[in-house]
């Protein structure tokens, strides 16, 4: 993308002068990504913040030619993923389970977060999508990252491979398995859902 090239050379030339442009260009993407990985807004904001700060400090130490030749998008996603992993590692749970509560007793993953601002007519649609997101949050980490990057962030398989620092073949098979695992999870949740409807 020629636009990205321009930003990379601007950063190489004048990091302090162009860093803000980098943040503006990528903040929505990285925040979204962090939210999908962590499942809650407070963590997502901190992860995105840490990721940009790390990126800045790294570029500060790089010679200009290295900054110019960065694959910025994949590099930023990789930093964000590492920050998120490190945070999660420090916690008891490797991922956010659906019924995990925070200190205030609120669910850490709140499907209403996505749906709350929608009018009633599409609220149901919002709930359904949120439930996909919460099922994704329940996948094993190696599947989850590949799936989020490929389909929710819309990266090409080659870019996913670069972010995850994995061979393309591994990424392909993880994405494939992740879709299957998610399909199973979706079926299971629908079975539970319809059973409860029959009972009530």
């Amino acid at each position: 993308m020629p636009h990205e090239d321009a930003l990379e050379s601007a950063l190489a030339r004048d990091l302090d002068g162009s860093f803000e442009r980098l943040v503006r260009e990528y903040e929505d993407r990285l925040y979204s990504f962090a939210l999908r990985l962590s499942g809650n807004r407070a963590d997502a904001e901190e992860i995105a913040q840490d990721a940009f700060v790390r990126a800045y400090r790294a570029m500060k130490t790089y010679p200009p030619e290295r900054v110019r030749s960065l694959s910025l998008k994949a590099w930023l996603y990789r930093i964000t993923l590492n920050v998120a992993r490190n945070r999660m590692r420090g916690r008891r749970h490797e991922h956010v389970s659906l019924d995990e509560r925070d200190a205030d007793g609120r669910a850490r993953y709140d499907p209403e977060d996505d749906a709350a601002s929608r009018p009633d007519s599409i609220l149901e649609e919002g709930r359904r999508r949120a439930s996909i997101a919460s099922l994704v949050a329940g996948l094993p980490p190696r599947y989850r990252s590949a799936l989020i990057l490929r389909y929710m962030e819309g990266l090409r398989l080659e870019e996913v491979a670069r972010v995850l620092e994995q061979p393309l073949g591994t990424v392909k098979s993880n994405v494939h398995r992740a879709v299957n695992a998610l399909r199973e999870a979706l079926l299971a949740s629908r079975r539970v859902h319809s059973r409860s409807e029959v009972i009530s």
Partner: protein, 267 residues
């Protein structure tokens, strides 16, 4: 890809659902927090100054803005629109040098200040840094700055650059006057305020104006045979009888005077 269609969930549907999942906008607090952590954000204080209350902003690189505003909100809006980056009120005290200068423009603490002049052109930066060299109690003409920074023909552009000084009072653009001795414009409230600031710094604007009006541009030190701008320390302390007036450079040189090394009245 083989897919089971029991219950209506196949792989394609899963992918479709994933792609349709809503994306999220970063909260508006994210950018300022990041800029603050890497030292690229600006903080501001409201301070009393010789021209009344002013807002002073600084990043880690240095002072980035001094301006008057009706309210903090107005200041924040103006800062953001001029600089394109956020500014927020500081919880700590302003740098000591800023405090002392706002109390007393004659403070020597000016030398300790650093400025964040990002976003200005190289020419504008050169003009402002040159103005910073003018000692307290002295004035220089616009043409002096133009010559000193290597653009002797750009006198008008020097005026424009000084008019855009983002850090007035601290970079003393009020010490630059017209070659004919008249005080000239001032962005922080017009020539009346500029004159008052010069008086605070012990410049007597009336004398400069009178000398200028009678065509006198330089004063010579009769004993040491050099000539200066009228406010230069090299002649200011002399008694009147020992000051020799000159209308221009040629006249001074013809009389056997050489330019003062401190105020550099000629190239």
């Amino acid at each position: 890809m083989k897919s089971s269609n029991r219950g209506g969930a196949d792989a394609l549907e899963v992918v479709r659902e994933l792609r349709a999942a809503p994306s999220h906008r970063a909260p508006s607090t994210l950018l300022p927090a990041i800029l603050r952590r890497v030292g690229l954000a600006d903080l501001y204080w409201k301070l009393d100054s010789p021209v009344g209350p002013v807002y002073v902003a600084a990043s880690r690189a240095g002072i980035s803005m001094v301006t008057r505003a009706k309210s903090a909100e107005e200041f924040e809006r103006r800062f953001e629109s001029l600089r394109g980056r956020p500014v927020s009120p500081s919880a700590s005290r302003p740098p000591a040098a800023v405090r002392s200068l706002m109390r007393n423009l004659k403070s020597r603490d000016r030398e300790k200040l650093q400025f964040d002049l990002r976003g200005l052109s190289e020419f504008e930066r050169a003009v402002l840094l040159k103005a910073l060299e003018i000692p307290c109690g002295e004035v220089r003409p616009y043409s002096w700055i133009a010559r000193e920074i290597g653009h002797p023909e750009a006198v008008r552009a020097v005026g424009t650059a000084l008019g855009k000084n983002p850090v007035p009072l601290l970079i003393p653009c009020h010490r630059v006057v017209r070659a004919d001795g008249s005080i000239g414009k001032y962005s922080m409230g017009g020539s009346r305020i500029k004159r008052a600031l010069l008086e605070v710094e012990d410049v007597e604007p009336g004398i400069i104006e009178r000398l200028g009006a009678s065509g006198i541009r330089y004063l010579g030190n009769e004993k040491k045979r050099y000539y200066c701008y009228p406010t230069c320390g090299g002649t200011r302390s002399l008694v009147l009888a020992n000051k020799v007036p000159f209308h221009d450079e040629k006249e001074a040189l013809a009389a056997g005077y050489h330019p003062c090394k401190s105020c550099r009245p000629a190239a």
